[in-house]
Symmetry: C2
Subunit: 557 residues, 2 copies
């Protein structure tokens, strides 16, 4: 695994062929720089898993070389792995003011003492790490204070875009550093890592301002209370809700833990402007005239325990949705969440609410924070990289991003579509992809990190589909005859009372199997257990077309 | 539950507040007519369930009154429940030629003897059932031979639209009976049941012809083999693939059981025109020059065992996808299937295929078979119903459909948004919704129909998330002391080898719990089991934040 002296190496430990758990590594000789440390939410096939984080074996083995964890922005898929990372490696973290605010919320939740160095940077910061200098540029995205990063190395400059779109009319007037990007491109970019989320979508991302005007219209039209559900971290959108509420003379309540937390970080650190006295407590909502109040709430992705879901089923303490109230879904469902979001919209309509949802240029309350094809082409054009690695996307997105790069002049053969763990080495200005470092998914389940793997998940899957059947048998040590049982216990398989005959048959089959083996003088418990599993399994599949997990337990007395 | 004499009653046993398991009932006095008998695929929360069908308790209790099962068309959500229905009720089935062909495939699969009366109808058929006459009209949809149904009752006419769109240029020249619909409207419609799937979408559904021209373009551009994945039942789209293949001089192979079955029904019954000798066997594909062959395959929804999924992972016998081949996804993912479909597209790109996917007016290979808002308004306008029940949709769709009805003149208060089981009774031309019949989901799991319910599913859920822990304890009958164990067996919880200390602690806790109870002279096994569950459960949650199912088994010797 030895890195050659003075080789520049680039690889991902997460974020390639997936959306989530972003973690990229730039290594020059003995200096390692990590970009982002994200989490990823498991899909439903990973039964019981709470979070997926990157496998950081390589970093643990090379911890003396790590100089910094640089964080581009504060979204979960870029910071969600940090608490777990810090439990293993104590590395200084560099991020903008707002991003660090969100990281600190996480460290508090994990009760991690703040013995990590947290260093605030902005787009003007310049960091020196021996032979490598690091500088930054501002990009627009759906959360404040986002950075792209430039690594100035003796081999050449490496640029990581972070997540970005080009929004020429950003809602908060935080303009991206387009001139600076042009300069960086002028100075020469050896390799660009650019995000690929929307590489399949033609055109240019609409501006966040579009939402602003639709939001204002909706507020002007509404009679009753107005509920707006969005990502708490989308502070610019939160600001638009605040502004619309000011214009229509409404107070504002915040529902949901992350909404309260993030808004307070944004207020403290100056990313959100709210007039004194405008924010009210949840319990005050029902004491006010409905047309005098707006409510910002979490749960735009249909999360079962979040505020909107509880509101939609009438289970939120203090606040209720009444007929005539307006609910604005100011976020699109992330792929996989569509059904949960639809269920909530159904419930809201049933409560008599007016629900504004869906995208669309006339009423849409959401625009993407990730650049479409023309945004991506503009970044590639500004940077003019010699080499290109599309990151942050599934394979089809990386594939399309490569085609975009070629269309604006990146030479064929100079784009590397890599996998997590694949290393691109650059030496004497020539890039080659030859070797791998360890990478993969580490599962977080409750307090366990990495203790649930293939076997446990396979068992959970079998248990989830057909349940289980425990067969207990007591056998005498000497004569090896059954002295008690077989007794059966089932869970998740069939109703016992509907299945008495089935279970009687199981007992009979178990007895016969044991007797047969005894006649053949077979005495190993394992062989006996296997034989019971097989005969009972076959019987049950024939009669139910189900394959419960069969657990024979033999007690020797 | 008694129906009043000469009351006309309308209700749904499935299809309301859901997409799937459509089943509607029209009862006039003692004559019951059933419309459709669909199945519904379970979402991932229904662990292990294979299919959901309607609860037909009401029909079983009134089977002597049932005159007919009338089937509007051959989609799964309209015919999927028929085999289970027939196992309980032997009722004559009326459907068009093609629809009956698909029903017969199902009956064969279920090895149901054809002792059911299957009666072919077409849009000109007129059926007499005592005081009720039934007639039909043709509608356009994404499967051939679709009907709307008119029930002529002494109280007035009831119209059920089936699934429909207005396609003025249908791909197969099977025009919908618009003139007849206008006539029906002229004669007076007391109540309309109309489908609501796309009630949220503005505008008019694009014509199936759009796909035809895109398909032809794609075929003209392609170099290598062409794979087209679509629903087998969308015979008009299959015909377009056939036509494009003829134009470009390609032979056609069919992959996937349902593609082979449905195409053969369509050929036999004259719904598909394919030149002699054009269809080749799968094993012949690789013997031909790639530009001389096209392949129609199942699996457009990302189904794991279907042809396209196996092709995309290189696991299809006889046929392989090579770099330069074209794959056309000629169907949109149904909500919930997006991720599976995306995974397949990723794999196809990785194989080097050109993949054409996504909707869009310039390259889209799919149009919906369900009418958008303007289609729905046209139907309402043609029918001019006094009363209206939006069906076939989730609540938000029904809600929007009601607004559409009001916008074209259905009186406010005359639309009934009902639930499955809610009965609308019409007497003396006045409709009222007052009572309910039993309704609900019946789960099919393997060979069991209705034997899996809440408790079994709850257990499966717990097992799926945190696995289980069996604790076996042998206790002497007389002294009531532990003579063997506790022994623990876990599955889906933790790796045993990583958790030796945890399990040692569990054993210690079990022993302590038992000893404590014995000291208190508690002798009931149930109390002892509960105490073990509680103490072990608390310990495990504190140390792992997981809640495995704990099964204490006490053997008394």
């Amino acid at each position: 695994m030895g890195m050659n002296e003075k080789t520049l190496s680039i690889f991902a430990l997460g974020g390639i062929n997936e959306i989530g758990k972003n973690m990229y590594v730039i290594q020059y000789s003995d200096d390692i720089f990590i970009i982002d440390c994200g989490g990823k939410f498991p899909d439903e096939s990973l039964l019981g898993i709470d979070l997926i984080i990157p496998d950081i074996t390589y970093l643990e083995e090379n911890q003396d070389k790590i100089r910094a964890l640089l964080v581009t922005h504060g979204h979960e898929d870029h910071i969600g792995g940090i608490p777990y990372f810090l439990k293993k490696l104590n590395i200084p973290i560099y991020a903008t003011n707002f991003t660090l605010g969100l990281i600190e919320i996480k460290l508090d939740e994990h009760r991690l003492k703040r013995d990590t160095e947290l260093i605030i940077v902005d787009s003007n910061s310049k960091l020196e790490f021996g032979k490598v200098q690091v500088s930054f540029f501002k990009v627009s995205h759906s959360i404040p204070d986002c950075l792209g990063i430039v690594f100035h190395t003796p081999e050449g400059n490496i640029v990581h875009t972070g997540d970005f779109k080009f929004d020429l009319t950003p809602a908060n007037n935080q303009y991206a550093d387009i001139h600076k990007m042009a300069q960086i491109g002028e100075q020469g970019v050896l390799l660009l890592l650019s995000e690929s989320t929307n590489a399949e979508r033609t055109g240019l991302t609409p501006s966040e301002r579009m939402v602003a005007s639709h939001m204002e219209e909706a507020f002007l039209k509404a009679d009753g209370k107005i509920f707006v559900s969005t990502f708490a971290s989308n502070v610019n959108r939160v600001q638009q809700v605040v502004d619309a509420a000011i214009k229509t003379n409404r107070k504002l309540a915040l529902l949901g833990r992350s909404m309260v937390n993030v808004v307070s970080v944004a207020l403290e650190r100056g990313y959100l402007t709210v007039p004194e006295g405008m924010i009210i407590d949840a319990f005050e909502v029902d004491q006010m005239s409905p047309e005098k109040v707006a409510i910002l709430c979490t749960g735009s992705q249909g999360e079962q325990m979040a505020a909107l879901s509880r509101l939609s089923s009438g289970n939120f303490r203090d606040v209720a949705i009444h007929p005539g109230d307006t609910v604005i879904m100011a976020a699109s469902p992330i792929p996989g969440n569509e059904k949960d979001v639809s269920r909530i919209i159904d419930n809201l309509f049933q409560l008599g609410a007016k629900v504004i949802y869906g995208s669309g240029s006339t009423t849409g309350m959401h625009v993407s924070g990730h650049g479409y094809q023309e945004d991506l082409k503009l970044m590639l054009t500004l940077m003019k990289p010699t080499y290109f690695i599309p990151i942050h996307g599934e394979y089809r997105m990386l594939h399309h991003h490569r085609l975009l790069a070629e269309s604006v002049g990146v030479e064929k053969g100079n784009t590397f579509i890599i996998n997590n763990g694949d290393v691109v080495d650059i030496k004497n200005s020539v890039a080659r992809q030859t070797r791998e470092v360890p990478s993969g998914d580490t599962y977080v389940d409750g307090m366990g990190v990495g203790d649930v793997g293939e076997i446990v998940l396979r068992d959970r899957k079998q248990l989830s589909e057909d349940g289980m059947l425990v067969i207990v048998l007591t056998i005498s040590k000497r004569e090896r005859r059954i002295i008690q049982g077989p007794d059966t216990v089932t869970r998740g398989f069939v109703y016992v009372k509907d299945s008495e005959n089935l279970l009687k048959d199981v007992n009979r089959i178990v007895k016969n199997t044991v007797v047969e083996l005894q006649e053949q003088n077979v005495r190993q418990w394992n062989v006996m257990k296997q034989a019971i599993k097989k005969s009972v399994g076959q019987y049950l599949f024939t009669h139910t077309k189900r394959r419960p997990m069969i657990l024979p337990i033999i007690i020797e007395i």
